[in-house]
Symmetry: C2
Subunit: 187 residues, 2 copies
């Protein structure tokens, strides 16, 4: 069983990335998945949080309490959720948007300029979520890149398939020397 939390702000596409991850797990990798989001006063303030549970057996409880993987695409998301992560979990931080104090750069934190990479390399900030998904798949190996790409092609808006597949590859193959820290560690 593996728990994922994708945190950021509205409009970054965390829900879409979470749905793609869940669908990739089930459609091609023969797993069970549950995907959810909760909305409240926070989301009225712009905060967004999508969650996925992936398991080899049926899932009773779809809620994530101790994520094995946390994506932070907002400072608020990092500040609020970093302590929830499981002991051997991984925190992926978009350092275009989030400052990680030196003291917090422990072995479980990977930082990459995800949004900046989307803008610079693909000219479209909106695919930062799919670059992040590529990184997530590389770091966790929870689904195969092929399964993820099939789910992406099924789910993204018609006409943007090629851009999003490029974004996934870019995230999956990001160079640790390229505005990243922690990416060259083994997990």
């Amino acid at each position: 069983m593996m728990q994922f939390r994708l945190a950021g702000t509205g409009g970054q596409g965390q829900i879409l990335a979470a749905i793609i991850l869940a669908e990739a797990a089930v459609a091609s990798d023969q797993l069970y998945a549950a995907q959810s989001q909760s909305y409240g006063p926070e989301s009225r303030g712009g905060a967004s949080r999508a969650e996925v549970v992936i398991s080899e057996s049926p899932i009773d409880y779809p809620k994530v309490d101790k994520p094995d993987f946390l994506l932070c695409m907002s400072q608020q998301g990092f500040d609020k959720y970093q302590d929830d992560v499981a002991e051997d979990g991984t925190i992926l931080v978009d350092t275009s948007l989030v400052t990680v104090p030196e003291t917090h750069r422990h072995s479980r934190v990977v930082g990459c300029k995800i949004t900046e990479t989307a803008r610079k390399n693909l000219g479209r900030q909106v695919v930062a979520n799919i670059i992040a998904l590529g990184l997530l798949v590389r770091l966790t190996e929870v689904v195969s890149p092929e399964a993820a790409k099939k789910a992406i092609a099924n789910r993204v808006p018609s006409g943007t398939e090629s851009l999003n597949l490029q974004a996934f590859d870019l995230g999956f193959e990001l160079d640790p020397s390229l505005d990243c820290f922690g990416l060259d560690r083994s997990f």
Copy 2:
């Protein structure tokens, strides 16, 4: 607290309709919401199920067990879930796709040719999910039509806003005499 289950087959947009419902509840109507989907062997067979819980207070458990409202856009969805519905709940059936035996046409069942209406009136079967959402909002009054339309405009693919808003209005204002049964009852 109100629980919704939207059942159908992949590609009908149940997840999108559920996300829109949840976002409408929170963004404009000051409620809490949780939205989820579970995937397993069923979804590999094409079945799709999206759920929403809406409440005036924070929601601990995002899973739906006894829906107050069930949308059935597949025969399998109707056959499988009709008995789960709360005693005073409502079942909305797309009678373009689902056959409701006479004996099951009790006071809680509303049937409308949703998909056929989408095709005939708007030329696009793909917006059947939003017509269904219009019906859902009319029947349950869980959010205002204005809140729903704001959430639709925020969430549907860019360029399809107008078509989807038309679909919502069409569902909200469906004439009971128009290939529908049960729609003129008060709930």
